[in-house]
Amino acid sequence: MTQPQAPKTAAESEHPIAPFLRMDRMPHIWCPTCGIGTVVKCFATALEGSGIDLDKAAIVSGIGCTGRVAGYMNLDAFHTTHGRAVPFATGLKLGRPELNVTVFSGDGDLSGIGGNHFIHAARRNIDLLVVLVNNFIYAMTGGQNAPTTPVTARSSTMPFGNFETPFNLPHLAESCGATYVARWTCLHIRRLTRTFSEALNRKGFRFVEVIAPCSTLYSRLNKLGSGLDLMRFYHDNAVIKHGADTREVAIGFQDTITCGKFVDSPRQTFSEAMHEHYTTQLGERFVPMPEEGGWIHE
């Protein structure tokens, strides 16, 4: 573990989440009322209670505001290129199968430039937990239209309002083969933490979408107030429908946000299928990659 700087007050190092954070990089760069920090707190709490060996847990992020999560978590963390967190995580997982790999990235990174990798990893059921923080916009670069921006919402590249149909991400994930699909908002801290706990102990391609407020870009460009106003909006407009048909959970502009666990149907992961298949086809000749990975040494 990298040595943290001496905390400024005694209270800092006692914050329950301190062991999971790079305390020498606090305070983080996220804006006031940004929801990403809340998602990180829920994730870290779930990780703590999950019993997973933290030395074998790895975080991979892409580029963007949510992409900065890797930089703040005290785990083996990789801040990779835009949209390529999922294949990078695939390589990490396949190179050392015992790792527990989580991809933490934003809506633009994962469903825009990273869309192709997202759908194929889901199709293959690669054993990854993908946490997509959805603030409906490309925030880091100044508020451009994203594949999740609701119709009529304004952004810097759709100054007269968005006319493109956005993704319904849970539906996309389910139809591509994800075995665990859930959505919460930043307000649903306990349920989100429970979902993370549940997902961390599953295998296969698990997808958790978290709706987060973006005060500096999405909220400001659409005159929705601050992040707190958006949280109040989630309070009044989020409905919980476990097991809902994912075709019906699309999000309109300032419309109902359907939350809950939509899909929980495990199936064989990529690695399990690979092992089973090669064992059947090759019998004794099959030499699987060891769980500790393909590192060759004396």
Partner: protein, 385 residues
């Protein structure tokens, strides 16, 4: 250390360059390959996909080249030697993540079986027009290593060297084959595992509390820690400090770029590999690489019959370029003649290093075939005047 016997297909084989390259990778200890099919490179991964399950390797055919390169960088961080294989159009797609590998200092090998370009070009026919792209393809300042085999035997041998250099300097190595060598079938001798020397991934022996992922301590490269060994390090494509944390300052940028460049430039003499023949006393020196090197020998023989003293330098490692040797020779000879299956790429380096002291004559070829030795001979004759 010696090679893992599971990966070494000892014996005398009749293989094409692609297959030999795949065998070289397996002998070198590569155990993760992510690829995407593209002619004329696909045979490399086809062979690997057949043999990997028998040696603890994992092959995954990714959805595109971008994913392939990203997966290779990710797998390399588990300590597993990783490789991907492509040709021109895929090489262009991989560039961003090659830059990521260079920035994160991730050892890996990228095989480019060059074909005619630009764009879709001539998928099944030879080209050598990606040589500059191998050096400058990704944005920003970085240095890497590039090698060119001239035969299937070399495709085997040099792939092992490529992995070794990649480990030693923690840099992605561009293995620049061409379609001719890739699809040419020749005798390939694969030795016993005990005769194959490989450089393993060396891990740091520092404790996690003391370890900084990018601290060099006066050496060329930092020490490596695998993901999952408890080091809890952070690595990023952003300009970073010793801890791997992003730092947005010109000072950090200078330190970072300086080290990435110098680790290759300062060790150039260890990395550069050329084969010289009859260079001393020559009037004209011909420089070639890959399949063109074999064609060139015929051209040189024709020129020697005309009485011209011709020397020959074959580039085995193309990047870093043997600047010092070219500068030395520029004082002594009339001209360099550089035949290549492109419209002049490596010749630009020769011209730059010759600095006007002698001429650097390009013998271009658009691609789709190899030079006619007579063309090379004529160029030599013109150069000797």
């Amino acid at each position: 250390m010696k090679a893992d016997p599971l990966g070494v297909l000892t014996g005398v084989h009749y293989l094409d360059g692609d297959h030999a390259c795949g065998e070289g990778a397996m002998a070198a200890g590569c155990r993760f390959v992510a690829g995407y099919p593209i002619t004329p490179s696909t045979e490399v991964v086809e062979r690997i996909s057949q043999r990997f399950p028998m040696m603890g390797g994992t092959f995954i055919q990714m959805e595109d080249e971008l994913g392939s390169m990203a997966a290779v960088v990710g797998a390399s961080w588990t300590g597993t030697k990783s490789m991907t294989v492509t040709s021109g159009p895929g090489f262009s797609l991989m560039m961003e993540n090659i830059g990521l590998a260079a920035m994160m200092e991730t050892p890996c090998v990228v095989v480019n079986v060059q074909r005619g370009g630009p764009s879709t070009g001539l998928p099944t026919m030879v080209g050598q027009a990606d040589m500059m792209q191998a050096r400058w393809g990704s944005h920003g300042d970085y240095e890497l290593i590039s090698m060119c085999p001239q035969s299937p035997q070399e495709a085997f041998d040099l792939t092992i060297d490529a992995f070794n250099l990649s480990e030693k300097y923690r840099v992605p190595v561009m293995f620049m084959m061409d379609e001719c060598v890739g699809h040419m079938t020749e005798k390939v001798v694969i030795p016993e595992p005990d005769s194959v020397d490989i450089v393993p991934r060396i891990l740091t022996d520092q404790a996690p509390e003391d370890f900084l992922p990018y601290r060099v301590n006066g050496k060329s490269v930092p020490e490596f820690a695998r993901a999952g060994d408890g080091y809890r390090f952070h690595s990023t494509g952003l300009t970073h400090d010793e801890k791997g944390y992003p730092v947005m300052s010109a000072e950090c940028q200078e330190q970072s770029v300086h080290r990435l460049i110098e680790k290759i430039r300062c060790n150039a003499s260890d990395i550069i590999r050329i084969e010289e023949e009859a260079v001393d006393g020559a009037e004209v020196v011909v420089m070639a690489y890959g399949i063109t090197a074999r064609v060139t020998r015929m051209g040189i023989n024709l020129a020697r019959k005309k009485g011209i003293k011709v020397g020959f330098i074959r580039l085995v490692v193309v990047w870093p370029f043997p600047e010092k040797r070219v500068r030395e020779l520029a004082d002594k000879i009339k001209a360099f003649v550089v035949p290549e299956i492109n419209y002049g790429q490596v010749v630009l380096e020769v011209e730059r290093c010759a600095a006007g002291k002698c001429s650097a004559i390009c013998v271009p070829h658009g691609g789709g075939g190899v030079h006619d030795p007579k063309t090379i001979c004529e160029a030599i004759v013109r150069a000797a005047k």
